[in-house]
Symmetry: C2
Subunit: 94 residues, 2 copies
DNA sequence: TAAAGTAGTTTATTTTATAAACCAAATTTT
DNA sequence: AAAATTTGGTTTATAAAATAAACTACTTTA
């Protein structure tokens, strides 16, 4: 009847991050922060969780002298997101 | 860009309960428990939250001699659910 | 060189989700 | 008919999550 909702994706901020990363090649920390409106602390934590789950890859480098964290979605992440979409539909589609 | 997800509905069990109640006139505690697979304790708590939010109405009576709790969705609940559906779509529809 | 800004991380707090333990009444078993 | 079990829940305790505040380290500006 109802499919299970992957708890790692069933989170407003993590879902937003994944949704953004699905539509771009990659996105840096500042960009994700602006688009989501999240605080830096919250975003940092959630990015970490997504990375540890293998749903995104995170590269920490520098743009000039300033630190820059770049994220992109993994194949595993795409698959998990698609599964989540199917699952949530089981609750909202009549 | 992303719409806010009503935290009261952004919960697997509460969403399942609301989804069921949308499609039936009313449902009792035992029926909801069977369909959702939730424990009685968890279901009890979540029903309470939905009721306090005004999203469902709860009637406690008896069927013969056994207690029976009957739930049905309110207009407010329908509206909130529909808004949630629109909101979640902003994350999952490309 | 002091103040303010940037790009984050770590820590602490509040909220949630969930299950375990419990309760009262009804039913079944012995 | 007493004891055990089941039914239909509620309350309480615990684990997990979300979030913001505080902090770090470096850079730019005044």
């Amino acid at each position: 009847m109802f499919k299970e909702l992957n708890p790692l994706l069933h989170s407003e901020l993590r879902l937003a991050v994944m949704s953004i990363l699905l539509s771009v090649e990659s996105a840096d920390f500042v960009y994700l922060k602006e688009l989501t409106g999240a605080t830096a602390g919250n975003l940092s934590v959630q990015i970490d969780k997504l990375q540890k789950a293998g749903y995104i890859s995170v590269e920490k480098g520098f743009k000039g002298k300033m630190p820059r964290t770049t994220c992109s979605i993994t194949q595993e992440g795409v698959a998990a997101f698609e599964e989540y979409v199917e699952a949530i539909k089981s609750y909202i589609i009549k």
